[in-house]
């Protein structure tokens, strides 16, 4: 934790709404600094980006004031980054939800829609760690119609997947690559287990 007492920078959603991740951080005793285009992060603290809404809408709100570029350059420079829900999806190159809209392209691959079952996937699903990581398996809360598909042509793609889960076939529920971690599910709405994951990320990076 740095001198002014903030542990992490939390990107506020459109309209400045802090949302459920902020409340979760408060419960966990993690002091956060709310950031947006007008009050951008400077890379001195890890960044959390919770995305709510549609891929296209989140990208266009990020582009306002070139905030997307601020985020991208800080992440490329090594600032620890946690994306949540659509905050995970926008890390990829593109999404079927918004054809023609470029994502941040920080993780190779695209975001695709579930083709089976009730969509959006709504409820608790079990996530299993991939690649022998020390992250625990458990149940987390999902609300998503789309999921990220790390680039299969990329030989490193497998090592990118942190968690997988089943929704009429396996899908990527979380990624971890370098300083980037991202959850498709809502750790802040996933009870003690989910908040434990949030806490674990914070203690890893702060």
């Amino acid at each position: 934790m740095n001198a002014n007492g903030f542990a992490v920078d939390l990107v506020t959603s459109v309209g400045g709404n802090l949302g459920s991740v902020a409340r979760s951080l408060t419960r966990l005793g993690v002091n956060f600094n709310a950031v947006d285009a007008g009050n951008p992060p400077d890379g001195s603290r890890p960044i959390i980006l919770p995305g709510v809404g549609a891929f296209g809408a989140v990208m266009s709100s990020l582009r306002a004031g070139d905030f997307d570029q601020t985020i991208s350059s800080l992440v490329k420079a090594g600032t620890p980054f946690l994306g949540v829900c659509v905050g995970m999806q926008i890390l990829f190159d593109s999404s079927e939800e918004a054809p023609g809209v470029a994502g941040l392209g920080l993780v190779k691959g695209n975001v695709v829609k579930f083709t089976q079952g009730k969509v959006p996937q709504t409820g608790w699903n079990e996530v299993r760690p991939v690649n022998n990581t020390s992250w625990p398996s458990g149940f987390v809360y999902f609300v998503n119609s789309y999921y990220a598909k790390p680039d299969c042509a990329n030989p490193e793609s497998d090592s990118v997947i942190l968690y997988e889960a089943d929704y009429f076939g396996k899908f990527c529920a979380a990624v971890s690559v370098g300083n980037i971690t991202a959850f498709q599910f809502h750790p802040e709405k996933s009870g003690e287990f989910g908040e434990g994951l949030l806490k674990r990320w914070v203690s890893d990076v702060v």
């Binding site: 419960r27 709504t122 608790w124 889960a165 009429f168 802040e188």
Partner: protein, 270 residues
């Protein structure tokens, strides 16, 4: 066949009025059963997957207390929760969501003005728009001329509004299809034949609607853990909601889930 992996959800329902929890039997004869925030935390501890807060306040003044309640619940709760009861305006929906509710449930107001569903879906996303349908079986021949053709061989249910006091003449199946088209995210289906009876969920009704493309939360009639086994295995519900059996302390959420797991139904045990 590939499986979904998704857990069946158990949703305790807290009826609230003027900031306090009350319990309804056929939505009448209320009795105070305590502080909603304390109850919410207890249910989260027991393993509830979500919570439903149904505001049954009688007056506008009382109803405004729901905003403080939502703020307080959101501070303390780390599971999703839905707020319903008397919501008729998009502005109220936005306010409830900004205070921390994950979803809103609309009922009579949607029947009166179906476009409200589309407005919520457009502005806030389908995932937060739960349409509650109260219905009562009206036999195999639906009397209304509004009903579609080729369904005379099916059982039919009529939509009720205003806490069951108004018969709308609307075929619940036709209404449900319309809700899906308008952008509803989930259904909460309450059987007026089963509600408050504690004789088990209305399996026939739940099964009839479970094939809809959005999740169906079954409500009304939960008696014991076996009721939940039945509504998931026979009724194919995605989630089940109950009040009395949890409020009365007859069974904990965890006891219900343990029974479900023993019956091979996927649930989250914590």
């Amino acid at each position: 066949m590939l499986s979904s992996g998704l857990c069946k959800r158990i949703i305790p329902c807290l009826d609230v009025a003027n900031g306090r929890t009350v319990k309804g039997v056929k939505f009448q004869n209320l009795r105070d059963i305590g502080d909603p925030v304390e109850l919410a935390i207890e249910y989260q501890r027991q393993g509830a997957d979500e919570l439903m807060f149904l505001d049954i306040s009688a007056s506008r003044e009382e109803r405004s207390t729901v905003f403080d309640l939502v703020r307080s619940v959101a501070e303390h709760l780390a599971i999703p929760f839905t707020v319903g009861g008397g919501i008729s305006k998009l502005d109220d929906v936005k306010k409830l969501l900004s205070l921390g509710a994950d979803k809103v449930s609309i009922n009579s107001s949607a029947v009166q003005r179906p476009q409200l569903i589309a407005e919520i879906a457009e502005a806030c996303g389908s995932q937060c728009c739960v349409v509650a349908i109260d219905a009562r079986k009206v036999g195999c021949e639906f009397s209304s001329t509004k009903s579609s053709t080729n369904r005379s061989d099916r059982p039919a249910w009529e939509v009720l509004t205003k806490g069951g006091s108004v018969s709308t003449g609307l075929d619940a199946w036709v209404w449900a299809q319309q809700c899906v088209e308008l952008g509803a995210g989930e259904f909460m289906l309450t059987s007026w034949d089963a509600d408050g009876t504690q004789e088990g969920f209305d399996i026939e009704m739940v099964l009839a609607f479970s094939g809809l493309p959005i999740p169906v939360i079954a409500s009304g009639g939960a008696k014991n853990p076996q009721s939940f086994v039945d509504v998931f295995s026979l009724g194919q519900a995605d989630a089940a909601l109950a009040a009395s059996i949890f409020h009365d302390g007859l069974f904990t959420v965890n006891q219900v889930k343990t029974t479900l797991k023993n019956e091979g139904i996927t649930v989250r045990l914590c």
